[in-house]
C-alpha cells in the first residue's frame, strides 16, 4: 500500500497507543484492586470514598473527565508553582493521559473486582485462616487466583472499552495513532484512506486482545467442571 512516506508516523502512533493502553491498564488494575478492597472494607469512611469514586466517575463521560483532569491539573500545578515562586512545570501529556485513563477505568475495575471477590465462597477464606495463612498469603494463594476467574469476562470488557477510549487522547494533543492518521490524511489529502487505516489498526488490536483473553479464560478456568451441552 502506498502510504506516501507516512508509514513510520503511523507506526509510531500505533506504538504510542499500545503503550498508553497497557500502562493505563496497569494503573486502573491497581486502582481497581485498591478500590474493591476499600469498598469491601469494614471501615465506613473508606467504603464511602470508594463508592463516591465509582459513582461519580461512572456517571460522567470519560472525555469530560479527561479534559477536566488534563487542563485542571496543569492549571492547579501552575498556581502551586506560582505561589511557591518556582518555574512552571509542564505535565507530560503522555503521563497525564495514562493517569487520567487509569483513574477513570479504575472505577470500572473496582466494580468488576468487587463482584469477583464476593463470588469466592466464604468458607475457603475461613479454611485458609484455619490453616494459619497470613492475610497476604490468603490473598495470593486463595483469593486472587479464584477472583480472577470470575473477574476475567469483566476485565476483558473493560480492556476493550479502555483501548477504544485511548482514541480520545488525540483530542488533548497526544501523538497517538488517530493523530498520526489525521496528520497523514491532511498532508496527503487522503483523509478517507488514513482514517480507515486507523480503524483497521484498532480492529487488529481488539482482535488480538480477544485471542489473548480467550487463552487467559481457558487458563484461569482450569479445574472448573462444565456440563456438556
Amino acid at each position: 500500500m502506498d502510504l506516501q512516506g507516512y508509514g513510520p508516523v503511523l507506526w509510531a502512533g500505533t506504538w504510542q497507543t499500545i503503550q498508553l493502553a497497557l500502562l493505563s491498564l496497569l494503573v486502573s488494575f491497581v486502582l481497581g484492586l485498591l478500590g474493591a478492597g476499600a469498598k469491601l472494607s469494614r471501615n465506613r469512611t473508606l467504603s464511602w470514598i470508594a463508592t463516591l469514586y465509582t459513582t461519580l466517575i461512572r456517571g460522567v463521560p470519560d472525555l469530560v473527565l479527561m479534559l477536566m483532569l488534563f487542563y485542571g491539573m496543569q492549571i492547579g500545578l501552575n498556581d502551586l508553582t506560582d505561589s511557591l515562586n518556582l518555574d512552571d512545570i509542564n505535565i507530560d501529556p503522555f503521563v497525564a493521559g495514562v493517569l487520567t485513563i487509569g483513574f477513570i477505568y479504575g472505577a470500572y475495575f473496582t466494580e468488576t473486582f468487587r463482584g469477583a471477590f464476593l463470588s469466592v465462597p466464604r468458607g475457603q477464606i475461613e479454611a485458609s485462616t484455619a490453616f494459619g495463612m497470613s492475610p497476604a498469603q490468603i490473598f495470593r494463594r486463595i483469593l486472587f487466583p479464584q477472583m480472577m476467574r470470575f473477574a476475567l469476562p469483566g476485565i476483558g470488557n473493560n480492556w476493550q472499552v479502555l483501548v477504544k477510549a485511548t482514541a480520545l487522547v488525540s483530542i488533548i494533543g497526544l501523538a497517538d495513532v488517530v493523530k498520526a492518521a489525521e496528520d497523514a490524511g491532511k498532508g496527503t489529502l487522503r483523509l478517507f484512506l488514513f482514517t480507515m487505516i486507523a480503524a483497521g489498526i484498532y480492529l487488529a488490536i481488539t482482535t488480538l486482545s480477544n485471542l489473548v483473553l480467550l487463552w487467559l479464560e481457558r487458563r484461569y478456568s482450569t479445574g472448573v467442571r462444565q456440563a456438556e451441552l
Partner: protein, 240 residues
C-alpha cells in the same frame, strides 16, 4: 464558577442566542441515535441469530467492525474521511448531507449504537427458553407470529438491564460530537474554558450536567424495569 454560570447558563442549557446548544443538542443526539438504532437493531438481531450463515454472517461482520473500532474514529471517517472523497463531492445530494457536521455525527452514532444494541438483543433472543419456542411452533404459529407474539416481547424485556447500560454509555459517547462542530454540552464547556481559563469550573459544570442526565436515565430505566420485568422480581410475601 458563578461568573461562568452567569455568562453561559443559557448556552449550557438550550441556546447561544442563534442556535440550539448544550443539553438540548446532547439530548437530541442521544434520542435520534438511540431511536434509529433501536428500530434498525431489531431486524438485524433477528438476522444475527439466523441459522443461515449468509444472513447472519454479514450482520456479524457489521457488529464486529463497529464494536471493534472507537466511535471517535468512526466519526472522523464520516465527517472528514467521506467528505474528502471525490465521489461525494460530485454528488449534490451526498455533498449536502456530509457537509453538515450534525448529519455525520448522527450517522456515526446511529451505526455505532445499533451495532451494540443488535448484539444485546441477539444475545437475549438466543437465551429464550427453548420450551417457549417449541410451544409456539406446536400451536402452529408462523415464524413471523412466533417472533411477534412470543420471542421478541420476552427477549426485549430481558434485555432491558443491558440496554439501559448501552443508553448511558451512548450518552457518554455523545461527547465526541464537538469534534464535528456540533454544539453539545462539551462544546460550550470548551468555549467557556478558552474564554476564562477556568478549566476545572467549566468542565466541572459539564460533568455535573452529564451526571444529572445519567442519574435521570438510571431512574427512568428503573421505572421501566419495575413495569416490564415485574414477573422476574423476587416474590413479595403476601400481605395479611
Amino acid at each position: 464558577m458563578i461568573s461562568i454560570l452567569h455568562d453561559y447558563w443559557r448556552a449550557f442549557l438550550y441556546s447561544d442566542g442563534y442556535h440550539y446548544t448544550g443539553v438540548v443538542i446532547t439530548l437530541w443526539l442521544l434520542a435520534v441515535s438511540i431511536g434509529l438504532g433501536f428500530c434498525l437493531s431489531i431486524p438485524l438481531a433477528v438476522a444475527r441469530v439466523s441459522p443461515r450463515r449468509y444472513i447472519s454472517g454479514p450482520v456479524w461482520l457489521y457488529t464486529y467492525v463497529f464494536r471493534g473500532t472507537p466511535l471517535y474514529v468512526q466519526l472522523l471517517i464520516c465527517y472528514s474521511g467521506i467528505y474528502s472523497l471525490q465521489v461525494v463531492h460530485g454528488q449534490p445530494l451526498l455533498n449536502a448531507f456530509f457537509r453538515e457536521g450534525m448529519n455525520c455525527t448522527l450517522l456515526a452514532f446511529t451505526l455505532n449504537t445499533c451495532a451494540y444494541t443488535t448484539e444485546i438483543f441477539a444475545g437475549s433472543i438466543k437465551a429464550t427458553a427453548y420450551g417457549e419456542i417449541e410451544a409456539a411452533r406446536a400451536f402452529g404459529m408462523s415464524r413471523w407470529t412466533q417472533y411477534r407474539r412470543i420471542i421478541l416481547p420476552s427477549a426485549l424485556r430481558r434485555a432491558l438491564p443491558y440496554y439501559s447500560n448501552e443508553v448511558i454509555l451512548m450518552l457518554h459517547a455523545t461527547t465526541v460530537a464537538f469534534t464535528a462542530t456540533v454544539p453539545d454540552i462539551l462544546k460550550i464547556a470548551r468555549d467557556a474554558n478558552s474564554a476564562t481559563y477556568m478549566s476545572f469550573q467549566s468542565f466541572g459544570i459539564a460533568a455535573l450536567l452529564y451526571l444529572a442526565i445519567s442519574f435521570a436515565l438510571v431512574a427512568l430505566f428503573r421505572q421501566a424495569e419495575r413495569r416490564w420485568l415485574a414477573y422476574l422480581q423476587p416474590q413479595q410475601p403476601a400481605a395479611h
